[in-house]
């Protein structure tokens, strides 16, 4: 067996919790550092405590959405509905707390379940009815958008935002600061903690659980996974449900941040989330992707937005620059693969 002996020289995959190849992490992380250094040199207002905290906070909602989409994209799927499902979850949370006067934790649960349910429906439509993910989640995107408008219309007789007037505590979920209470000099809002907490959970799910393993397996070779006796349809449904759960969390977060549920919000958020995932090195053809990469991708987007604003670069150019970075990130990834 000469050939098999030769293969002993191959390198085993990394075993960190974020399980990935070091190269991609370095690439994205390096890009983030470069962007940071550039803006720090270009403006004295960039590298201040308040502004860095601001960037962290600005990443929270998009970051959580992107975490959910990461799982879906690793299975070689796509989820276009995350933005409007987020809005719908914000709306159900707001209605639970502000209209039905449920306790806040219960209201949050309603939001999370709303997201998860929408995701599970996506999953069933994709895995059982064999509708392509693009189409299925496009449909859900419209359905969720419609429902987010229908709910206030049914309750108040007209489409309008729902406010958390009687629940000042709800806003504290995002904007309160547990860290600030402990270390007065570091008023990092809870939103940032939630983002990192969610990322840890996501990384654990992806690297250490059966769920994560099958997510990668399905994306790597769906037919082989099926032939290995794994119920691909069920696991796929779960992947979309988990993606939806993260959208639900983002919904609770944006409602808390804005102290209201805005029914018209959410369109376009899915593209930012997908961009973060892609910049983070997750392959749209499936099988490959990391939570850390997605997190870095989300930070790159919010850092760019913030830095270009601080420099006063005309906003039209911000879109152009972000677009170039998305394409560049994917192209570098292709080059890296080819080099292997």
């Amino acid at each position: 067996m000469t050939t098999t002996e030769n293969t002993t020289t191959t390198t085993p995959a990394k075993r960190s919790i974020f399980r990935s190849e070091a190269a991609q992490k370095l690439l994205a992380f390096g890009a983030l550092i470069v962007i940071f250094v550039f803006f720090s040199l270009a403006s004295p207002f960039f590298l201040t405590k308040d502004n860095v905290i601001g960037i962290l906070l600005a990443t929270a909602v998009n970051g959580v959405l992107a975490l959910g989409v990461t799982f879906v994209i690793i299975t070689a799927g796509i989820d276009l509905s995350v933005g409007t499902v987020m809005t719908l979850a914000a709306m159900t949370t707001a209605v639970s707390i502000a209209v039905w006067h449920l306790p806040i934790p219960l209201g949050i649960l309603v939001g999370l379940l709303t997201g998860m349910l929408a995701g599970a429906i996506n999953g069933v439509v994709i895995a059982r009815m064999k509708i392509p993910p693009f189409v299925a989640t496009l449909g859900m995107m419209m359905i969720a958008r419609g429902l987010a408008l229908v709910i206030p219309a049914a309750i108040f007789g007209s489409v309008r935002p729902v406010y958390f007037s009687d629940s000042p505590l709800f806003g504290q979920i995002m904007m309160g600061s547990v860290i600030g209470a402990l270390i007065p000099n570091l008023p990092v809002p809870n939103a940032v903690l939630i983002l990192f907490g969610a990322a840890l959970v996501a990384a654990f799910l992806l690297a250490k659980t059966v769920f994560g393993r099958y997510t990668v397996a399905i994306g790597s070779n769906e037919e082989a996974t099926r032939l290995s006796g794994i119920n691909v349809a069920n696991w796929k449904t779960m992947v979309y449900a988990v993606g939806g759960l993260f959208s639900g969390l983002a919904g609770v977060m944006i409602a808390s941040r804005l102290n209201s549920a805005q029914p018209g919000l959410g369109a376009g958020y899915e593209l930012d989330a997908i961009a973060a995932v892609v910049i983070g090195g997750t392959s749209l053809s499936g099988g490959e992707g990391t939570i850390l990469g997605t997190l870095i991708g989300a930070f790159i987007i919010s850092t760019l937005t913030n830095g270009l604003r601080i420099l006063g670069v005309p906003q039209e150019w911000q879109f152009v620059i972000t677009g170039v970075i998305v394409i560049l990130a994917v192209y570098l990834d292709i080059l890296r693969r080819r080099a292997r």
Binding site: M1, T2, T3, T7, K208, T209, G229
Partner: protein
């Protein structure tokens, strides 16, 4: 030995437009290697996929260990102790070896959904050790050669402690040494009482390894014989259901002296070194050599698929500037790739569309609208003249057998008015009956004045078909033989004529012609 482990009887299975299995049957004893053979499309793989739970049968019974069983999905098959190594590799390239071997059966820790990666790697290591495979369980599958992946598939199948192991063409991608190792493992398993189903096209191999042979044809059971007793010719005639003229070499008509294609001093890096040759009208020019000798590279360079560093190509005596396959097509050169599915065919399209694909402009009307009457006629014409077995020209090409797919590719290039056809391994993966049809077709083409370059790794094929033979080794042409001079020994001598050896021989004149 006489312990019957499995009986499949009256198995029916239909796919849209095709009756894949028609009252098929099969029997397997514990501790035997049972070869299952037949032409492509005979239903071997389908029958075994029914057993492995990949397809559900339309009718019939599966009796396993004396009881009738129902196998609706792969999981049930695995639980029963039936595993199958599929023809196409079925590994997850992004996962490690250990993760692949135990996918679906990962050891857990603590809470049920948490993986125990340490235990997983240890189990896999133990399994590899027992197979004498020196592999790191933590290697990613994507980093392995195809042959190694194949061994991993076998390891995976063994890890189920299967009572029945089905192998569909397991040796297709393996080297001789690897095949020996595989056979050793198969014999060990047989000694342990495992029933092994072995699907292969390599008839010599079957005589070596199997105890009994069952032949299928057109989805039906033909017969079961003792492997030791039955001669190969008998097996072949059972497979094709008719006697075919095997081995009688076609007497090559001497082609004209007109040169249609000439290559002068082609060079590309290390893979093509100073290659020159001439192709005459109506000739089959064989290209022999070992794997990696550079034959495919020369063909691709001539066809414009890869760039040349230097060298000239002449078509009908005029210098040709071929930078891209579409230039080659304009000069009347067609290339029929080794990997038909990847490079030669749009397998999702139907027969008609594939045939007209390379010459689409010919079928456009004045306004750029496709003249579908004309395409249909052309499709029908080639289906008839090339005897392509297909229910209709609207059949999707992926549903055809390998031999018929090859014919579709030929039809495609004929439609494009090519007069030089480069065949790269034209009969790879094609069964015996279809092979002889392809040979027939090649001869017919030369009689019509087409010129053919045929790359083949099968020496009998080269010897039987070629007017002249170019032998390559390590990127250079090491010898040229006429049909009269050529023998297997001579070709092998040239094919192993490595640079180092030539130097030792003092590169005196023509070393290869000396008898070995």
């Amino acid at each position: 030995m006489s312990d019957v482990l499995l009986v499949m009887e009256e198995i029916d299975k239909s796919f849209p437009g095709v009756r894949a299995l028609d009252q098929a049957r099969f029997e397997l004893r514990a501790g035997e290697v049972h070869a299952l053979i037949g032409e492509n499309g005979a239903g071997k793989s389908t029958l075994m996929k029914v057993l492995a739970g990949v397809y559900s049968k339309d009718g019939g019974r599966i009796i396993y260990q004396g009881k009738e069983v129902d196998i609706p999905n792969p999981r049930v098959a695995q639980d029963l102790g039936i595993s199958m190594i599929h023809q196409e590799l079925n590994l997850m390239p992004h996962l490690t070896l250990a993760q692949n071997v135990f996918v679906g059966r990962e050891p857990r820790q603590g809470v049920r959904f948490m993986l125990d990666e340490k235990q997983l790697n240890a189990q896999t290591q133990a399994l590899f050790d027992s197979m004498r495979l020196r592999l790191d369980p933590r290697t990613r599958v994507a980093n392995l050669t195809v042959a190694t992946q194949q061994m991993v598939e076998i390891a995976k199948a063994l890890s189920f402690n299967s009572k029945i192991l089905i192998m569909d063409e397991p040796t297709a991608a393996l080297t001789e040494a690897e095949i020996e190792e595989l056979f050793r493992i198969i014999r060990e398993l047989r000694a342990k009482g495992v029933g092994i189903v072995y699907i292969s096209h390599r008839l010599e191999e079957l005589k070596q390894i199997s105890d009994r042979i069952t032949v299928m044809r057109d989805g039906r059971y033909v017969g079961t014989e003792d492997a030791a007793a039955i001669p190969i010719e008998r097996i072949i005639s059972m497979m094709v259901g008719r006697t075919i003229y095997e081995s009688a070499p076609e007497v090559p008509e001497h082609p004209s002296e007109e040169i249609v294609l000439e290559a002068r001093n082609l060079n590309r890096g290390n893979v093509i070194r100073d290659v020159s040759f001439k192709l005459k009208k109506g000739e089959i020019l064989g290209f022999a050599g070992l794997m990696g000798a550079g034959r495919t590279e020369v063909a691709r360079a001539v066809f414009g698929a890869d760039p040349l560093d230097s060298g000239e190509i002449y078509v009908h005596g005029k210098k040709a500037n071929i930078k891209h396959p579409r230039d080659a097509v304009r000069y009347g050169i067609g290339y029929l790739s080794e990997d038909r599915k990847r490079y030669g065919l749009a397998v999702g399209l139907d027969v008609e569309a594939n045939i007209v694909l390379a010459a689409f402009e010919k079928f456009l009307g004045k306004l750029g609208v496709v003249n579908s009457n004309k395409t249909r006629e052309t499709g029908k014409y080639y289906v008839e003249t090339l005897a392509i077995k297909t229910p209709s020209i609207q059949q999707r090409v992926k549903n055809l057998s390998g031999g018929n797919q090859q014919k579709v590719v030929i039809g495609k290039w004929l439609t494009a008015d090519t007069d030089v056809l480069i065949f790269d391994e034209p009969t790879r993966g094609i069964d015996v009956g279809a092979k002889s049809e392809i040979y027939h077709l090649l001869n017919q083409l030369t009689q019509e004045g087409k010129s053919i370059i045929m790359i083949s790794s099968e020496l009998p094929e080269i010897l039987r078909m070629s007017h002249r033979i170019m032998v390559m080794c390590e990127g250079r042409i090491t010898g040229e033989l006429t049909a009269a001079e050529a023998t297997q020994e001579r070709i092998m001598t040239y094919a192993t004529q490595r640079r180092v050896l030539m130097a030792e021989n003092g590169a005196s004149g023509d070393p290869g012609v000396q008898e070995v």
